[in-house]
Every structure is written in structure tokens, then in C-alpha cells.
């Protein structure tokens, strides 16, 4: 589904991502973990086209997307959510999700239709699946943090992605909200046979749903594999899990 070959990114002499090789198969759920500053967000931004790698190649569905602009990568079937909640705060919840339907299905260049009538059923169905149907007409910027994260997930899902990148999907959520979100993600991933790649600091979340884990440390990939194998890996225990145990 997604292949990353020898990708590096340097900022003013600081190597944020260092020759990383990584791949994820269709339908797989994988997590990228690592201490703060390990390069997880940079790694995501390289994949989604927000940053251009200095060297290396990135393939999405066997097509080279290295250096392609974000909107094109998105239209090729990649969705993402951001670490800091990233929605359209002055639009209603409904309009947030509907806008993503409109743009992703390339109806945005229509100057003359009425946007209100487009994708009503799709938007309502998605909001219902996310449990946001009662808040459809609320201003999204006025919602709780947890709800805003759900709106953002809705925006990402409206783009009908085949692969979804989630940067800290449960950051700032209460334990209950976290459990709910994870259950939701698992259900949606199964229903839509989504490929899921996420970063997360909550190890309980990571080990509860990830089928594969990649560990970044100081920009380098130090381990990759099944959760049990990664948990047993000596390097990982030393640099990362060791901090906690």
C-alpha cells in the first residue's frame, strides 16, 4: 500500500528523519511510536507531502508520490488527521464534513450549483457513524476537544481514503473518550478495509490495536515488526520502553 525507501529530512543541519525504510500492506493497522522529538510528525509530513524529503522515495499504491503536493496525494486515496486539532472552526459540523465530500469528489469547481443540496445523505450517515448527528448544526469551533477530534476524523473519512494517517488520534482525550475513539477506529477500519497508520504516545492504545509497530528514535527506525517482537527488542526496551519501566 505504502512504501517508504531510505527517506531523510534535515532542518538546518538537524536530521529529523534519517534514512527510514518502512512499508505497510493493504488493510494493515500499524503504529509509529517513539519518544518526543523522535521524528514521528516529520515522518508523517513527508508521507503526506507537507514536506519534501531530501533523499529517498515514497510510493503509494506503487506510484511515486515523492514531492507531490498534499492535495494530489489526498485525491489519490490518503486521508490524514493532525496532531493539533485541525478543522474548519467557523463552519458547522455538517459543513465541515460536507466540504470534504465536495472537494474530494472534485465538485468544488462548480460555481453554480447549490452546495446545501450536495451529499446530504452521505454526510448525515457519516455523522451518525461518528455519533455526531445531534451536533450537526453546531459551530464546530465551539465543541469540546474530543468532539473536535471526531469532526476531524469525519473530515478525513469523507475523503474516502484507502489509507488513513492519524497523528495522535487520542491526544488530550479522557480515558473514556480514548476507549470510545479506539473502538470507533477499529470498527471503521474493518468496515471500510482501511489501512491505518497512526502515531500515539499511549502504549495501551498502541498495543491494543496495532498489528505492526515501527519505533523511531532520533530520526532512525530502530525496530519494526509485530507488537510482541517489538516489546522484546533490546534496543527498544533501552531507548523507549525503558524510560517507563
Amino acid at each position: 500500500m505504502l512504501e517508504v525507501h531510505g527517506v531523510s529530512k534535515t532542518f538546518d543541519g538537524f536530521t529529523a528523519v534519517d534514512r527510514v525504510d518502512f512499508s505497510i500492506a493493504r488493510g494493515e493497522i500499524a503504529a509509529v511510536i517513539g519518544p518526543n522529538g523522535a521524528g514521528k510528525s516529520t515522518f508523517f509530513n513527508l508521507i503526506t507531502g507537507h514536506l519534501r524529503p531530501d533523499v529517498g522515495r515514497i510510493l503509494l499504491k506503487e506510484r511515486d508520490i515523492t514531492g507531490a503536493p498534499p492535495h494530489r496525494i489526498c485525491l489519490m486515496g490518503m486521508g490524514r488527521s493532525f496532531q493539533r486539532t485541525n478543522i474548519f472552526p467557523k463552519l458547522t459540523v455538517f459543513e465541515n464534513v460536507q466540504a470534504a465530500f465536495i472537494t474530494h469528489r472534485r465538485r468544488g469547481a462548480n460555481f453554480w450549483g447549490l452546495s446545501d443540496r450536495l451529499y446530504r445523505a452521505e454526510t448525515d450517515a457519516l455523522l451518525a457513524a461518528l455519533g455526531l448527528d445531534d451536533k450537526a448544526n453546531a459551530l464546530s469551533g465551539a465543541l469540546s476537544h474530543g468532539n473536535q477530534k471526531q469532526v476531524e476524523l469525519g473530515i478525513a473519512l469523507a475523503c474516502d481514503p484507502e489509507i488513513l494517517l492519524l497523528d495522535e488520534p487520542t491526544a488530550g482525550m479522557s480515558a473514556a473518550e480514548t476507549r470510545e475513539t479506539i473502538r470507533l477506529l477499529e470498527r471503521i477500519a474493518a468496515e471500510r478495509s482501511l489501512t491505518l497508520l497512526f502515531t500515539e504516545h499511549d502504549m495501551e492504545v498502541v498495543f491494543s490495536i496495532a498489528q505492526k509497530i515501527a519505533v523511531l528514535h532520533q530520526g532512525r527506525l530502530i525496530a519494526e515488526g509485530k507488537p510482541e517482537a517489538v516489546q522484546q527488542n533490546a534496543d527498544v526496551r533501552r531507548v523507549y520502553l525503558g524510560e517507563r519501566h
Binding site: P69, F88, K90, T92, D116
Partner: protein, 337 residues
């Protein structure tokens, strides 16, 4: 409560203005109608797309010169000239906008200003075509003879005829703008305003859409400029000067960029205040400045935003317990939200 079709009420009221029979009222009304199109075209950028242009007068000026030159020097009829004014302004918006959308925020604003000053300088210096500093005086009125022989309208002056012509054209432009902001394209513009970074990742080519909005805004500014040149009986380099770019900005803030009609309300308030205050004191800019400061702090939604807020609150009162967010205008900036 049945909704009152305010748009039609206002349009009907404006149609009645020539019946008052006052040359002055018709003059002021013509000014308001034409300039409100200028302000509304800017608000497509300011209120809907989140782009601050300090150089919108460039397209107003280009439209004014195009229409005036075609009508005066080439004897082209009015409607094709006016359409050409819009298209010419839109074409220059495409050219200048191509560079402007590559920059963001203040850099974008400064580049729009720079292009507008170039346009002004060309109008000022290119004597053979633009008449230079002297401008192009004596722009002819469009041929409106059919109105002279029509019943009722036949008794009106030529200024009244032009007023009615301009009113209908501007109303059509407003209908077009309304349609555009309600379209899927309009929704994408509000998405850009709210969060351009996120917009990229729902598949929006941000620069392309910003450029499209810039061109549409330029087109309508050009139409407004073309009408204004005729109304003013002449076209001058000042039409493209940076102070001219400030006017629609002030009007939009005065009326409220948070609602569709805000800029038109602001244009009316601006022109009426200007007329009234200059008849009492020569310190019109000082007074206007004070009004703006008060408005920005006390009524950040502008006149229209404040009024719609009051109406929304009055409507909400009969049904306590309803926890709806007051929505001043669908898809628009909610002041103080």
C-alpha cells in the same frame, strides 16, 4: 414567523428613488449602488476566502478605463463595453493574482498593493491612451432612448435612466455573487478561509481556488468601475490609487464582512455619512476614523452583523431552552464566536 423577502423589499424601494424627483437623491443612490458592488466584490476575498487585498482598486480602475475607452474612443455600445470591462479586469486579476497567491498574509496584501500602484502609475503616465493626469473626461452615457419613449420612465431625466440601468445591472451581479457563495465553489472558499492547511488535505489545490476567487472578485470590481466611470462622467488615475483600495475595505468593515449584504450596507453608510458630515464640517476623515474605531471595538460584526445578531436574539426569545447557535448567515464568519 414568515420570512420577509428583504432583498426584494430593498430592490423595490431603490426602484422608487427616481419618483422622488430629486436630482440629489438619484445621484447619491447611484453612487451607493455602484460602489456597493465594488465593496461586495472585495468581500468575496475578505470575508469568504480570507484574503486581504490592499489593491482592489486596480481592477476597479482597469474596468473604468476599459469601458470608457471603448465607449468614447471606439463607439462600442454600452453593454459589450461593460462586459469587456469586467473581462479585462478579470484577466489582469488572473495575471497579478497568479503571483499574489504564491504569498500569504501580509506579503499577499503588499503584493496586491504593489500591482495596484503599477496600474495607477501606468494610467497616470500613458498620456496617449489614458489621458494621463487629466484622465478621460466626457465619458458618454449609454444609449437609453427606449426609456425616454417608455411610459412613466419617459418623464425622468437621463441621470435617472442611468440609475435604473445601473441598479438592474448591479442587482444581477449581486444575484450572481449570491449564487457563487452558495455554490460548492463558495463552500470551498470558506474552507480556505478557516484553515488552508487542512483544506489541502481534503484535496483542495489552495492556490488555484484562491486565484479563482481573485479573478471573480476582479471581474465584479471591473463592472463596478465601468459603471462608475460613466456615472462620474470621466475616468481618472485616482480610480486605481491606493486610497481607492481602502474605501471598499472601510465599507466592508463598517457594514460587516461576516454577512453577505454587509459591504453593501457599509457602502450606503459610508456614502451617506460622507455627504452628511461634509456638509457640517471639513473634518470628514477624522470623523470617519472615529466612527471606525468605535465600530471595531463595540460592534466587531459591523452594522449588518450587529443587526442580524439582534434579530437572531429576538427570534430565539420565544423558545427558551432551544440551544441553537445563532447563525447570522450560513457559512459566514460569526463575529465573537
Amino acid at each position: 414567523m414568515r420570512r420577509i423577502p428583504w432583498t426584494l423589499v430593498v430592490f423595490a424601494a431603490l426602484l422608487v428613488v427616481p419618483f422622488i424627483g430629486s436630482r440629489f437623491y438619484t445621484f447619491v443612490a447611484t453612487d451607493i449602488v455602484i460602489v456597493s458592488l465594488f465593496a461586495m466584490s472585495l468581500n468575496l476575498l475578505l470575508g469568504y476566502t480570507g484574503l486581504v487585498s490592499f489593491g482592489h482598486a486596480a481592477y476597479f480602475g482597469i474596468g473604468a478605463y476599459t469601458c470608457a475607452l471603448l465607449m468614447k474612443s471606439a463607439n462600442v455600445p454600452f453593454l459589450p463595453s461593460l462586459l469587456a470591462a469586467g473581462l479585462m479586469a478579470g484577466s489582469f486579476a488572473l495575471l497579478f493574482g497568479f503571483f499574489c497567491v504564491r504569498l500569504t498574509r501580509i506579503y499577499f496584501a503588499m503584493l496586491t498593493l504593489a500591482f495596484a500602484q503599477i496600474v495607477w502609475a501606468i494610467c497616470f503616465k500613458w498620456n496617449d491612451v489614458t489621458g494621463g493626469e487629466q484622465g478621460l473626461p466626457n465619458v458618454p452615457y449609454p444609449g437609453m432612448e427606449w426609456m425616454g419613449s417608455a411610459p412613466v420612465l419617459g418623464n425622468f431625466r437621463v441621470g435617472d435612466h442611468f440609475y435604473l440601468t445601473a441598479l438592474v445591472i448591479v442587482a444581477l451581479c449581486f444575484a450572481g455573487l449570491r449564487r457563487i457563495v452558495d455554490s460548492p465553489f463558495g463552500r470551498v472558499l470558506t474552507v480556505l478561509r478557516d484553515n488552508p492547511e487542512r483544506a489541502q488535505f481534503i484535496g483542495v489545490n489552495v492556490r488555484a481556488y484562491q486565484l479563482a476567487a481573485f479573478v471573480v472578485a476582479g471581474f465584479f470590481a471591473g463592472i463596478s468601475g465601468g459603471l462608475f466611470g460613466i456615472f462620474n462622467r470621466g475616468v481618472f488615475p485616482d480610480f486605481a490609487f491606493w486610497t481607492k483600495s481602502a474605501e471598499p475595505l472601510i465599507m466592508t468593515i463598517l457594514g460587516g464582512m461576516g454577512s453577505f449584504w454587509g459591504p453593501a450596507v457599509g457602502a450606503a453608510a459610508f456614502i451617506v455619512l460622507n455627504q452628511q458630515i461634509t456638509s457640517y464640517t471639513e473634518y470628514w476623515p477624522l470623523t470617519m476614523g472615529t466612527v471606525l474605531i468605535v465600530l471595531l471595538f463595540v460592534f466587531p460584526g459591523g452594522i449588518a452583523g450587529t443587526l442580524t445578531g439582534i434579530v437572531a436574539r429576538m427570534r430565539a426569545r420565544p423558545s427558551p431552552g432551544a440551544t441553537t447557535v445563532p447563525v447570522s448567515e450560513r457559512g459566514m464568519v460569526k463575529p465573537n464566536a
